[in-house]
Amino acid sequence: MVAVISLLALLFLSNPSSPQPSFEQIAKQADAARVADRMEDAIELYSEGVGLRPSWSEGWWWLASLLYDQDRFSEAQPPLQRFIAIASKPAPAYAFLGLCEYETRDYEHALQHFQEWGRRGSPGTDELLDVAGFHWALLLTRRGQFVEALSMLAAKAQKRGDSPALTEAMGLASLRLRNLPEDYLPEKRESVWLAGKAAFYASVEDDLRADEYAAELLIHHGHEPNVHYFRGSLFSFQKDHDAAVKQYQQELQISPEHTAAMIELALFDVEDHRFTEGLALAQHAVTLDPRNARAHYVLGRGLLALGRAQESARQLEIARQLAPASAMIRFALARSYRTLGRSEDAARELAAFGSLKESASAPWERQKTTKQKQPGPSE
């Protein structure tokens, strides 16, 4: 009996006296659990590990990755933030944090973190580039930066080919809907799909199929805002300017204050030397949307063509302020300064133009630069 009691006492006492596992042991166990696909164990062990040693950046990273892989986005955010705070090379984590914030509908922070990731050179695997770039584009659409969104998505289309998600994203941006795939009206689905298909095929230069889908879009949805504008953009892309002009005009009949259509018509007018009409339209667009860089740009170009270089420079300076990364605005401003005899300013703007052309690092930025109409020698 005594022996039994002693044994029980020993067993009872053995727990409190058993040594706690060291950080090194926990870290090793966590890695082993992760490698063996025991994800819940791994999450628990990494949590324990970073609790014991908060400076363990690798632990924070794996903890965040495992939670992210299980779609547990709100739980993945704190470890990612911690990793960003302590890691020596945290750049890819900004993309993951942006993705988590997207999923938890914290869209403003998501966009900020994608931009931070972009500023740091958009490092990461091909898969991360794909997924993060795609969500970044969605958020640009939601914010109304449709051209930038489409540039990113078009690059993706050329690289990866068609997919239903890409089509939907391109459709939303093409129809200038400030929505995400999760939150637009179901009755818009068909037009978004048709516009997306047309945009996709246009981006891979398959005009036959782009036209086929665009034609169907016009038949069923030609009375809706932005549809003729989109068709006009496709015609512009295909260099069919007359057809584009007609579409932009039809858009203005449906949406009299459609500044984007106004601006494109104004640009055609300026390029065709119909300066009075072009200036009137551009001025109207500027009045309606004073923060639209392209409106100021077109107005500036028109004014320069009429010899009103001082006013032109003022408009182009506003455009530059609104869109400092636009190479074509810097080029036009250089020309205005040169006309005004401000050669140093002109040289500075030309240099900026050159560096903006070269500095784009992400694939979609490179694409945007090449797809943009470059200022020709006559400008």
Partner: protein, 399 residues
């Protein structure tokens, strides 16, 4: 159709489920489901763990018991609050995660239900019904890609013989496959559901959408074309029921009412090719006028010309289809069949092997390859194909 799709159709056909519970009260579904799933989980090791601090254990036990009581007494709001408290004390409590998520789903609080289900499945990776509920929640939050992935996972794992849940899952998989432009896979699943004896009224629109190759959910159909979708669905159902007269009447009515709509002439033409081939071919030509890049119309026409041994007409159509969709297995298959007919065995085998890579589960491609290998004197390869065909013809569970 790939392996997964074959299996899906097979699963839908064998389960003998009733009409999908698209709008059926999920309340009933969930209440029934909860008990079944948890009966097995209560005995699980994780549920038996007690926290080492006595005071904390008492608190958790009290709260969790109160939560269960509130749930069984249908005091849902109290139950939700209490489950939340209990999960705060013990975040990995599986029963709590499950019951709270189902209560929230019932209350149409889908994002909250979804987040809890994600936690639940991270503990219970093999729980088919939980993946099903997660996929259904994600459908409601319009995360369609994830929803489809998780519903397919539920189908693969099985749903504990919950026919009501299974029928919902099959329905949502089918409509999502259509939205993701997987029309053939969707149609196979929908027809398997019909064959299993389900009343077809709820399936008419999904079938119509898949048949006309419109990537829309039923809720996204434009009102001015709902009738067209209905006619297509009814026509396809009549065809499935071997009611040729009915199919002809419905599909010709659709063509007359919507003569310029993409997909309409293809669908009617596909029917006519079996009964009045000349008219069917004319419908396919009309489809190509309306949809100049239609690959399905080209392939059906090429197939028909092949049947007539008119290889000079078949070849360019197959070639055009391949240019339009270089990764489409059926385009490579038809091209392979045309080349076999032209005795160009080397090219034919190349095309058929490509088709096989794209769609390894398609028996017709395997048969084509078997014949081509045999004709080329490659008896070993032919034998391998024969074995693969035998394997594919077995029920999925026996493969």
């Amino acid at each position: 159709m790939g392996a997964a799709e074959n299996d899906e159709a097979e699963a839908a056909g064998t389960i003998g489920v009733m009409v999908p519970a698209v709008t059926l009260p999920f309340l009933l579904l969930l209440l029934g489901l909860s008990g079944a799933v948890l009966a097995s989980q209560r005995a699980g090791p994780a549920a038996a763990k007690i926290p080492s601090t006595p005071g904390k254990a008492a608190t958790f036990n009290q709260v969790s018991e109160a939560a269960d009581r509130a749930r069984t007494e249908n005091r849902d709001d109290d139950a939700i609050r209490l489950y939340q408290q209990a999960l705060h004390l013990r975040p990995a409590w599986k029963e709590g995660l499950w019951y709270l998520s189902t209560l929230l789903y019932e209350k149409e609080r889908y994002p909250a239900a979804r987040d809890l289900l994600r936690r639940f499945v991270s503990h219970e990776q093999g729980a088919g019904p939980a993946w099903a509920m997660l996929g259904l929640s994600e459908f409601q939050t319009r995360e369609y890609t994830r929803s489809l992935d998780h519903l397919l996972r539920a189908m693969a794992l099985g749903m504990d013989n919950r026919k009501d849940l299974a029928q919902s899952v099959f329905y949502f998989v089918a409509v999502l496959r259509t939205r993701f432009e997987q029309f053939d896979e969707s149609m196979s699943l929908l027809m398997a559901m019909v064959k299993s004896g389900q009343p077809s009224d709820l399936l008419i629109e999904p079938i119509g959408l898949a048949a006309l190759r419109r990537p829309l959910l039923p809720s996204e159909v434009p009102p001015n074309r709902r009738d067209m979708i209905h006619l297509a669905g009814q026509g396809a159902l009549a065809l499935e029921a071997q009611d040729r007269e009915g199919a002809d009447r419905l599909l010709s009515k659709m063509v007359a009412a919507y003569p310029d709509e993409p997909g309409v002439h293809f669908l009617y033409g596909a029917f006519l090719l079996d009964v009045r081939p000349t008219e069917g071919m004319a419908e396919m030509q009309r489809e190509m006028e309306i949809s100049p890049s239609s690959v399905p119309a080209r392939l059906r026409l090429a197939e028909e010309y092949l049947k007539q041994s008119n290889l000079d007409q078949a070849l360019p159509l197959a070639d055009q289809a391949l240019r339009l969709e270089p990764h489409r297995a059926t385009a490579h298959m038809i091209m392979g069949e045309v080349l076999v007919a032209k005795d160009s065995l080397e090219g034919a085998i190349r095309e058929l092997e490509t088709a096989e890579q794209e769609a390894p589960q398609t028996v017709r491609i395997r048969w084509d390859l078997l014949r081509a290998y045999a004709a080329a004197g490659r008896s070993g390869d032919a034998q391998r194909e024969k074995e693969e065909i035998a394997k594919l013809n077995r029920p999925a569970a026996e493969r």
